[in-house]
């Protein structure tokens, strides 16, 4: 078979790179996002076909078989996964990508004598291994295979420093003489470093780490592109590395934290883990019928969904309630905190699944001024993202996190399982305010009862 000439190969890779840029660009708006993603998928297909027709390859049946295995394993999982489990799936796919980059770098070591190429190999090995192991721990935390609380032990910072120093040492030797044995050692050190990096990260911060590791894998892929002299890998990897970095920072800002604070907070003891103590102070609780009357005769209702809604799989009932209220002439919006759910933007996906049109999903900065004009703010399974302590209590773990200003609404209704505090483990003063009413119970059950009562009005 004659191979494609280098100019055509370069042009096809360039087209694939442009597809990836369009894919990311399309994801800026819900209207263009799906088309963008399809363009990205087309670019990937184009690149894979190009490599088969432009490089002299042995073992082609094996390679095609391996691609088939990978597709057959991943596609059904991607198709069937529940939307609530999205964060751990993204972590998993990210980890295997990092692992693949590390393996490619390892195998290229014997093919080169150039110290600069070896430097790129060392970088890919280390960062790819960190991403693989770190994503594995992230997956275990989100899947509930291990505790989501920060895991620390006294020697952790020292151990981390030793591992990193050893990795730098091994890396320098590999760059100088290309030792395969030390490259393997570097791979193992990278795996250990990845585990140590993610273990101390707790609770609500875990999803930020997924985004950071995503950027890491992108950089590893870019470096492997330098190793192989493949421009497409360089461009695609760098795009992901850069966009992942921006995204990580945007998410951290939405939580009022710095990325460094998230990664190393637990090292210094200032973690997000709090108490789970139950408050004894009085609150006003109410019946589903009373809540239905409040909602049914309101002009404007803003629903604030939180992870409790997702856990109870109540997003469909919430969407139905919104429709029932709109049918009565009430204006209903959903106020989405950037970190509502288990990962930033997760709540939007869950409500989109329940057929809520994206125009009704309001971002925090857009909806906050409107709480003043709302008759009722209905908080379903959310706590920390509406806790005024983020503004008023400087010692609080969530201090500085931007919150949804539900306290501005005339009435605030909380649907809660119990008085237990949220993820961050701090009490919410708002629960004790005079305009606040509580309806205890599972989010879906409560919503179903309220929905029935609204329909009966």
């Amino acid at each position: 078979m004659t191979l494609l000439d280098p100019t055509w190969t370069a042009l096809l890779y360039l087209a694939a790179a442009a597809c990836f840029i369009l894919a990311l660009k399309g994801l800026n708006s819900p209207r263009t996002a799906r088309r963008g993603n399809l363009i990205g998928g087309f670019g990937a297909l184009l690149a894979v076909v190009t490599v088969f027709v432009s490089v002299k390859l042995d073992n082609v049946p094996w390679i095609v078989g391996a691609i088939a295995v990978g597709s057959v394993v991943a596609a059904p999982v991607a198709r069937r996964v529940q939307m609530t489990q999205m964060p751990q799936l993204v972590a998993l796919f990210n980890g295997v990508g990092g692992g693949a980059a590390a393996l490619v770098a390892l195998l290229e070591l014997s093919h080169t004598g150039d110290a600069w190429v070896r430097l790129a190999i060392v970088f890919t090995l280390l960062v790819g291994a960190v991403s693989f192991a770190g994503s594995g721990v992230t997956f275990a935390k989100l899947q509930g295979l291990m505790t989501t609380r920060p895991v620390t032990f006294p020697g952790l910072p020292v151990l981390m420093a030793v591992v990193l120093l050893a990795a730098v040492g091994a890396g320098i030797v590999v760059i100088l003489n290309g030792s395969l044995l030390l490259a393997l050692a570097l791979l193992i050190l990278g795996l250990v470093a990845g585990i140590l990096l993610v273990l101390p990260v707790g609770g609500a911060d875990v999803p930020i780490v997924i985004s950071l590791l995503n950027a890491f894998t992108g950089l590893a892929v870019a470096a492997s592109g330098l190793v192989l002299g493949n421009v497409l890998l360089v461009v695609a990897g760098t795009l992901v590395g850069a966009s992942g970095t921006i995204l990580t920072r945007a998410m951290a800002a939405a939580m009022g934290r710095s990325v460094a604070g998230i990664m190393f907070g637990a090292f210094k003891g200032g973690s997000t883990a709090g108490s789970t103590a139950v408050s004894e102070r009085p609150v006003r609780s109410s019946s589903p019928e009373d809540v239905a009357v409040l909602l049914g005769y309101a002009q404007r209702v803003i629903i604030v969904p939180g992870y409790g809604l997702a856990v109870a799989q109540g997003q469909h009932t919430a969407a139905e309630l919104a429709l029932a209220l709109e049918a009565r002439g009430t204006e209903v919006d959903f106020a989405i905190h950037p970190v509502a759910g288990r990962m930033p933007g997760h709540m939007n996906v869950l409500l989109a699944e329940a057929n809520v049109p994206y125009e009704s999903l309001k971002e925090m900065s857009d909806i906050n001024p409107e709480f003043k004009t709302a008759d009722v703010a209905l908080v379903v399974g959310a706590n920390d993202v509406v806790n005024p302590a983020a503004k008023t209590t400087s010692g609080s773990p969530i201090y500085g996190m931007p919150i949804l200003e539900v306290a501005d609404a005339r009435q605030v209704v909380f649907l809660k399982r119990s008085m237990r505090p949220g993820f961050a483990g701090i009490e919410n003063e708002l629960l004790h305010e005079p305009q606040t009413t509580l309806l205890f119970g599972d989010a879906k059950d409560s919503l179903t009862k309220v929905l029935g009562a609204v329909k009966a009005l």
């Binding site: 993603n37 990978g70 990508g97 192989l228 497409l232 695609a236 760098t238 939007n348 996906v349 994206y358």
Partner: protein, 111 residues
């Protein structure tokens, strides 16, 4: 390609990466993360090249493992992102195109 050209391309790609996601709305943070995740699955190209040049069975085995992992990243990433984005619908469109086409088919039969 020489080192200087690669460096130029890398630096420009950094700026493009910063630019395309700097104005993204937080509504789409999850699909964006998942979509970017799918793009780095393109390491599959590298894995295929390495596997295609392997002569030692051990090297081939490791390379094929890389191919499987990279394919899972690439295919799984794009499929799951598409599934998420499919659910984002505007106000005007019907809730499900499947339902409307079934209704249409029902009318046809009724005629």
């Amino acid at each position: 390609m020489d080192g200087m050209s690669l460096l130029t391309i890398t630096v420009l790609a950094v700026f493009v990466g910063f630019e395309v996601v700097s104005k993204v709305s937080s509504t789409l943070h999850t699909p964006l993360m998942s979509g970017a995740n799918a793009i780095h699955g393109i390491i599959l190209v590298g894995a295929i090249i390495v596997a295609g040049q392997a002569s030692d069975p051990w090297v081939l085995a490791v390379a094929l493992l890389a191919v499987v992992l990279a394919t899972a990243n690439l295919v799984g990433g794009f499929v799951v992102t598409d599934r998420m984005l499919e659910m984002f619908r505007g106000r005007q469109r019907p809730p499900s195109s499947v339902v409307s086409s079934e209704e249409h088919a029902g009318k046809e039969r009724g005629r």
